[in-house]
Structures are given as C-alpha cells and as structure tokens.
C-alpha cells in the first residue's frame, strides 16, 4: 500500500468527514447505457449470423431462438449487474481527499489525497454523450506498475458534475483566487490539418494489414486461391509491373483512408487550453476526450517530426511531464499539438517553455556522420547478401528477380539517405532553462528538457565511439520516457554540456585530459 491509497477500516460517513450526506452515487442511467451497448453488440451480431443459416439450412428458427434468448439474457443480466454496481458504489470529495468505495463481491475503498492529484481525464463515447454522461478518471501521475494503482475512476457521472469535479480537483490552494473561466486557448483544431494525418508509417501498416486481410477473408470463405488468381489475371491483362504498382497504390490509398478516419475520430474538435496552472487537451469526434494535468508536472516539450509530415513542413508537439507514460498506446495522451504546420507547435512550445525552441543547434562532429554511413553500408551489404542468397537458392523468375533487385536498390538508397539526414539532425543547445537535444531521421525529435528536471546522468561510450572521440550523454528525468540523449557528441563538448546543464553535479568527477586515469583508487576505502 502506498501513501496515497489507504485501506480504511471505518465505514462510510463514520470517519469524521464533513458530512455523511456528502457521499454521491454514480449516475443511475449507467444500467440503461450498459444494456443498450450490449443489446446493440449482440443484436448486431445476430443479424449477421442468422440470415445465412436460415438460407442455407433448416436450422434457421433454432438459430434465431438461440440468438434472441442469448441477447435478452446477456442484456438483462449485465443491466442487473451494472445496477448492483451502481447501488454499491459511492464517492465523495472532502476538503483533503477524494474517496470512493464499492464493489459487489469485494468491497473496496480507495482514497486519494487531493494535494497529490495531478491529472483529471474526462472521456465519453458516443453512447455516453447521447445521455450527457462522462467517465472521469483521476490520477496522481505517479508511475505504478498496476494500471489501477493510484487512480479513481467514476464511470459514469453526469457531464456537468464531471466538469465541476475537474475544476475542483485541479484547483490548488494558491490558485483559488484565479478565475476558472480564464482559460486561454493555445491551439485550436483546423480542418486543414487532416492532410497530415495519413502521412505516417501507420498508413503503410494499415495497407499491409488490408492486403493480409484479403487473403484471410478468402480463406474464411474457402477460396484461399482467389486473390492469387485475381493477381495473375491482372498481371496477364496489364503486365506484371503495372499490376504490382497498381496493387501497391490501391492498398496505400486504402491505408490512407483508414488512417484519416482514425485521425479524424481522435483529433476532431481538438483544443489546447491553459488556465490556472492547468493544461487541458480536448478532442474527439465520436468519443470525446478531455485530458487535464498540472503545469507543475511539465518538464519540457518534445517537437516530433516523423519523416512524412516533416517533408510537408509539419510537426507534432508532445509534453514531457512526470508520471506521463510514453509507451506506444499512451503516446496520444502526451500529445499537446497533433501534426500541424510547424509554426503552430513551435508557438505552443514557446508559450509553455517561456522561451522559443532554439533553432541554431550546435552540430555534432563528422565522426557521427561516418558512424551512420558505416551502418548504412552494413545494411547495404546485408540486403545484397539476402538478395544473392534468394536468387541462387530459390531461382525465382526473371520478374521476381528484378523485383528483388529493385527492392534492394531502393532499400540501399533509403539507408544512405537516412544516414546522412540522421547525422544532419544531430544537434544540441543549452538555453538558460533547458537542455535541447535533436536526433533522428525517420522520427526526428527535438527534446527540450528543463534543467532542474534532470535527475542524473548516464554517459556511454562504445569502443567504436572511443576510437573516434565521441560519446552519448543521456540526461535522466522523471518525465515521460525517463531519458533524453545527446547522441554522438564530441567527448569534451558533451562533458562540458552536462557539467554546465546541472552545475556542480558532474564537476567533481571530471579531470583534465591526460591525468593518470587508472592509477587512482585502491580497493575499498
């Protein structure tokens, strides 16, 4: 048990709280919402299942009866269960804590100290929105392994109550005087940003997924050879190359459409607001999401330029904040500004950092570029070897041999381009408040980490780096990914940078070059 979550033996209302009547219930319509949702799912699948059976065999009536009975049973059962959950769940907000207790089989009490609450999220899927309800999730922003470690979820409460709680929970003692309506918009969605959404590797992944799905569906229907036959007939009709390129174009377009739909759902109505020491991101077309967190948690920002939108002059802005997980599925939660023309995220970065993100970064030595070119050379040798082995061992037709060679050549060119571009991306700077580090080509990232947010250093040098006099300086931090690196910086420059970024921390461990390195230090003390 941690400090913020305590099992309390006292029953609700008996622990000297301000008023026992302060305990609230969730919204009673939750049972209805659950019933509608499950009815929609099961009735929908029944509609898909029953007609084919009815048409193909005489088991139709039996199938219909089973589906109707199952749908009714599950709808009623889940509604009853949810109603019981509603009846047993209570929450209240005291002067110092947010408390909740409930559970049908296992009674649970959970209590968060208000002063430790760092983020409040409101989400509402389309069904909850229709009823004017939201799901409110409160967290302390601390890293815990179990997802339910230090958070309270109220699912659902009315929208008005949710907004009210959000404002109350995030109002700090010092900020009481601030007008809650004084939220200023730092950035607002523009429909023109939609064009950046499909410029992503995920478009290609969806395209590949769609191609795979065609085969899967063909197999379900017992005709696994069908896609191959289509491909063959297309190749006969238009020639092999036009058919291959055409297929690629079709799938990429399908991927782009899918990606755009996902992006629109996520980011429609996006709005970034700041008020009373709290940042709030609101977005969503069908499911509305509102994420609020304290600015005191912010340790900097990261300007992310994936290759696709970078070529179009756009970028995204992520926040570096303590307790913000940066793993793939949580990445959207850390995004302050979605893909948009570079000026937009840069302007927001300036407002949040209090100074503009420096553009004239100090480049890294030639050795950094040589290291990347050497890796590209390894990739090229590898591609050549794979193609060579395949051609010799499998003996493909002339067409597939040329496809392999074209793919290897394209891959080699990309490898060299990524190496050169990646080396050009490398750079660092030290501003009065931030350490700025830029790296990457396919995903170029410029991280500005607040200098007081640096909680340690990790300096690493491989044998190869040692030979050419570069090293990688990593600042560790409690925010987001936990570490941000200045990669392949000249040894002396890198150490100076770290020494200056956090005065006094590294200095005791530095010595002039040439001092007797290994002589010091006997065993023990």
């Amino acid at each position: 048990m941690s400090a913020t979550e305590e099992e309390s033996p006292t029953p609700p209302g008996a622990d000297g709280g301000p008023n026992p009547e302060d305990w609230h219930t969730l919204d009673p319509r939750t049972a209805l919402v659950t019933a509608i949702l499950l009815f929609a799912i099961f009735a929908g699948s029944s509609v898909l299942i029953v007609p084919p059976i009815w048409l193909q065999s005489d088991a139709g009536p039996a199938a219909l009866a089973w589906c109707v009975a199952g749908t009714v049973l599950i709808t009623v059962g889940s509604a009853v269960a949810d109603h019981l959950r509603w009846r047993t769940t209570r929450y209240r907000l005291t002067d110092t804590r947010l408390e909740m207790h409930g559970g049908i089989l296992f009674k649970r009490r959970r209590s968060l100290a208000r002063e430790r609450i760092r983020n409040v999220d409101l989400t509402a899927n389309i069904l909850l929105r229709a009823f004017g309800l939201v799901r409110l999730s409160v967290g302390t922003g601390e890293k815990v392994s179990e997802s339910e470690g230090q958070s309270i979820v109220l699912d659902p409460i009315s929208r008005a109550e949710g907004e009210c709680l959000r404002t109350d929970l995030l109002r700090r003692a010092g900020a009481v005087a601030a007008d809650p309506a004084a939220e200023t918009a730092l950035a607002v969605w523009s429909p023109r940003w939609v064009r950046y959404v499909p410029m992503s590797v995920f478009t290609l992944l969806i395209a590949a997924g769609a191609a795979g799905a065609v085969f899967q569906v063909a197999e379900w229907f017992g005709v696994p050879e069908l896609p191959v036959e289509w491909a063959r007939s297309l190749a006969d009709r238009f020639g092999a190359w036009p058919a291959l390129l055409g297929a690629i174009v079709v799938f990429v377009v399908a991927g782009a459409i899918g990606m755009t739909a996902l992006g629109l759902e996520s980011w429609w109505n996006y709005r970034l607001e700041r008020g009373a020491g709290v940042l709030r991101v609101r977005r969503g077309l069908l499911t509305s999401r509102s994420t609020s967190f304290e600015e005191s948690r912010v340790r900097g920002v990261e300007l992310v330029e994936p290759l696709g939108i970078r070529l179009a002059g756009a970028a995204r802005l992520d926040v570096l904040a303590t307790g913000m997980r940066a793993d793939a599925e949580k990445q959207e939660a850390a995004t302050l500004v979605p893909g948009s023309p570079r000026e937009v995220p840069l302007a927001v970065a300036e407002r949040i950092l209090g100074a503009s993100l420096p553009t004239d970064l100090r480049p890294h030595p030639r050795a950094a570029r040589d290291r990347r070119l050497f890796r590209a050379a390894l990739v090229i040798v590898g591609l050549g070897a794979v193609v060579g082995v395949l051609v010799v061992a499998v003996r493909p037709t002339a067409f597939w041999t040329s496809v392999l060679i074209v793919a290897a050549v394209v891959g080699s060119v990309i490898a060299v381009a990524v190496a050169v571009d990646g080396a050009r991306s490398l750079g660092h700077a030290l501003t009065p408040d931030h350490l700025v580090a830029r790296r990457g080509s396919v995903r170029r990232s410029t991280a500005a980490l607040s200098r007081p947010g640096i909680i340690g250093w990790r300096i690493r040098q491989s044998v190869f780096q040692r030979r050419v006099g570069v090293l990688t300086v990593t600042a560790t931090t409690a925010a987001s990914r936990g570490r941000y690196s200045v990669v392949d910086v000249g040894s002396a420059t890198g150490l100076d940078l770290a020494d200056e970024a956090v005065p006094g921390l590294l200095r005791p461990f530095l010595e002039p070059v040439g001092a007797d390195a290994e002589g010091v230090g006997a065993r023990g003390d």
Binding site: G456, R466, A478, F509, E511, R523, D525
Partner: protein, 168 residues
C-alpha cells in the same frame, strides 16, 4: 564552456574497485550459464545417436567460448568496474565494450535497496541498487562485500531521507 576551453575534460574513474571476490562470482556465473546451455546439448547428444554430431559440436563450441569468457573477462571487468559515493552523488562506471558512467545526485534518490543472489551469497557479496524517479533504470553497484553493502545502503537512506522534495 564554463571554463574558457583551456583544458579539455574527461571523466575520472570512480575511486573504488569492487570487492576482489567479485571475480570468482563472475567466473562461476559464466560457468553456470555455460553449463545451462551446454548440458542439455550433451545429454541429448548422448541419447539421440543420429543427431549426435549436430548436438555435440555446438556443445563443444559453447563450452570453449564459455570457458574462455569465464577465465578472461572477469579479470578485465574487475579492472574496469568502479564505484564511488560522495557527499552529493553516487557515481559508477561499468562495462568495457559499452563503457557507462552513471551519476545520481543524493537529492534525487528515491529508494536504496540491497539484493543478494544465491550465487552472490555464496561469495559473501551483495548489490546496492539506487533508484531515482527516472524510467532509465537504477544505478547498481553489483559486487560489494555484504556488510559494506548494508552499511552503504544504510548511510544512503539516511542522507536521502534528510533531503526534502519528491525527487522528480
């Protein structure tokens, strides 16, 4: 930068070496790992006659490489691994091929633990694990005398408890 570039600086090695017994511990670890991989291969090689050569040759390779590592690497590591605890920070250096220096300031340390693996215990050794709020992993000193480790962990805990703030 802060100095007018008069003399270039480098990281000095931390003052202390690991306990001498760490060499033996590393050796036995290497031997155990080698055995874990090689033993099943040897046993299968003896049982399964047709595949004997395909199992015994890799086993021999594993044993030769593992043996060489067990003899040479620990001495090298012993020369390269260093640690130091000052008034203000914990400072370690590990590795050779990817040499890593780590600095964790006292004010940012969240927890200090000591751990002892079964093999480590046999040699009277312990690891001190110093955790900060960063996801970049803890700073560990993996080769101290048992009592010394307890003492260091104790001292570190006192110092870090005396520091206010939530270390983020």
């Amino acid at each position: 930068m802060s100095d007018p570039q008069a003399t270039a600086l480098q990281l000095r090695p931390p003052r202390n070496r690991y306990d001498r017994r760490v060499v033996a511990w590393w050796r036995w670890s290497a031997i155990c790992w080698t055995a874990v991989i090689a033993l099943p291969l040897v046993i299968l090689g003896i049982i399964v006659a047709p595949a004997r050569i395909w199992l015994l040759v890799p086993a021999a390779v594993v044993i030769v490489i593992g043996g060489a590592l067990a003899v040479a690497l620990p001495l090298w590591w012993y020369a390269k691994h260093r640690w130091e605890v000052t008034e203000h920070a914990v400072y370690t250096r590990t590795g050779y091929f990817w040499q890593t220096w780590r600095v964790a300031p006292m004010s940012r340390i969240q927890t200090v633990d000591t751990t002892r693996g079964p093999l480590q215990r046999a040699f009277g050794l312990a690891t001190v694990v110093v955790t900060t709020a960063s996801a970049a992993g803890p700073v560990s000193i993996a080769g101290l005398d048992d009592e010394q480790a307890t003492e260091i962990a104790h001292d570190l805990t006192i110092v870090t408890n005396a520091t206010p703030g939530d270390a983020t």
